[in-house]
């Protein structure tokens, strides 16, 4: 992968957003954002209602994903352009789903909703509906998804990148600071995981930094480019952003997103936890 194959800018979206084979999809944490105004022609995916299983803690399975995209009018051959708030956290998370279920042509809008707004570009409140399709998803590609046992086994052996803020990594905060801090799990991080906040990969306006800058950031943090890499955060959406950076922008082939992340790991009985600013030992 290279940047041109996975990222588009706002000018591209303005020119091609309503092309026949292009589907713009907004994915937000604040799901009311779309209703207040979205890029013309964009449909919405609700990261919680649409992308999570309603009962078990897991995301939608292959059949659920097929049903969702068929209903929303997304075709297998469509070029899907994802964007959203929170510097594209949830758009990157949805992008990771599309890749997990084998969608070929998926792109992120660089800078997401924020850059679009800061550039004072137009938003539309028109209702968007698309004719239904018969979407076929592939079985989940677990080459890009890590589960807890694999993460516990990776301590001290594989590069793990905790992409939360330094205060969350150290255990001083339990959630990103736009959310209340009371949580059930313990604070801290997986021992030997290095801390590279997702935000290091982005400029203030939400666009990604250059490949050279990105490579340097993770190299300096001690990421082993020749080995497997696992990224995690609190619930897997910020680490999907970092997964996108490592695998899709920088072309690493051995990167997994641990979407169970700290809300799972920090609640496990008997696993080691490191607190403070240092990675700790295994």
């Amino acid at each position: 992968m290279s940047r041109q194959e996975v990222l588009v800018d706002a000018d591209w979206v303005a020119a091609h957003g309503t092309d026949d084979n292009v589907v713009l999809i907004e994915v937000d944490e604040d799901t009311t954002a779309y209703d207040g105004g979205h890029i013309a022609g964009a449909i919405k995916l609700d990261w919680k209602k649409d992308l999570q299983d309603p009962i078990r803690r897991d995301f939608v399975n292959q059949e659920q994903f097929e049903k969702l995209l068929s209903e929303r009018g997304v075709g297998n051959d469509d070029t899907v352009v994802l964007y959203g708030g929170n510097n594209n956290w949830f758009a990157a998370y949805a992008y990771w789903y599309f890749k997990l279920y084998g969608h070929e042509k998926a792109l992120l809008l660089d800078g997401g909703r924020k850059k679009w707004e800061l550039d004072a570009r137009e938003l539309s409140t028109e209702t968007v509906t698309r004719p239904a399709t018969s979407y076929q998803a592939s079985p989940p590609n677990t080459d890009i998804r890590a589960f807890r046992d694999e993460v516990v086994a990776a301590i001290g052996l594989k590069s793990m990148v905790d992409v939360r803020s330094p205060d969350e990594y150290a255990g001083r905060l339990l959630a990103p600071a736009h959310l209340p801090q009371e949580q059930s799990q313990r604070g801290g991080h997986i021992p030997t995981a290095v801390n590279v906040p997702w935000s290091k990969a982005a400029n203030d306006d939400g666009t990604f930094k250059s490949d050279d800058e990105l490579k340097k950031i993770y190299s300096q943090a001690g990421v082993d480019w020749d080995g497997d890499i696992i990224a995690y955060c609190r619930i897997g959406e910020r680490s999907a952003h970092t997964w996108f950076v490592l695998q899709e922008l920088l072309g690493q082939k051995n990167v997994k997103n641990y979407d169970g992340s700290w809300t799972e790991y920090g609640s496990l009985v008997g696993v080691p936890v490191a607190i403070g600013d240092e990675p700790g030992t295994n």
Partner: protein
């Protein structure tokens, strides 16, 4: 700084004894700025969180004890303000975009 100012967000439903709340409004010429983004940076300048302002210009963070920087981004403006947060209290701040833009 810790007292609620006019127009402050209601803290009903929040256990403020356990949270270090930083909240306030972003204003442009005294009017609420609804299309702004407020970034919370820690004492080392590292990003910690970001929220878009509401239609009434309001924002809120749940921080920790200590000094924080609020970096506000809006079309044509970027403003930094330093605030102190303390667990058990609500820090209120109004951020005026125009005044800061003139000061640059």
């Amino acid at each position: 700084m810790c007292g609620a100012t006019q127009g402050g967000l209601s803290v009903a439903g929040i256990d403020v004894t356990k949270e270090a709340v930083i909240q306030g409004r972003v204003l442009r010429s005294g009017q609420p700025a609804g299309s702004a983004y407020v970034r919370l940076l820690d004492a080392t300048g590292e990003f910690t969180a970001e929220v878009p302002t509401s239609a009434t210009g309001h924002f809120r963070f749940f921080a920790g004890d200590g000094e924080w920087t609020l970096r506000t981004l809006a079309p044509g403006a970027s403003v930094d303000r330093v605030v102190k947060a303390t667990r058990g209290s609500v820090t209120e701040i109004d951020i005026e975009l125009e005044a800061a833009a003139k000061a640059v």
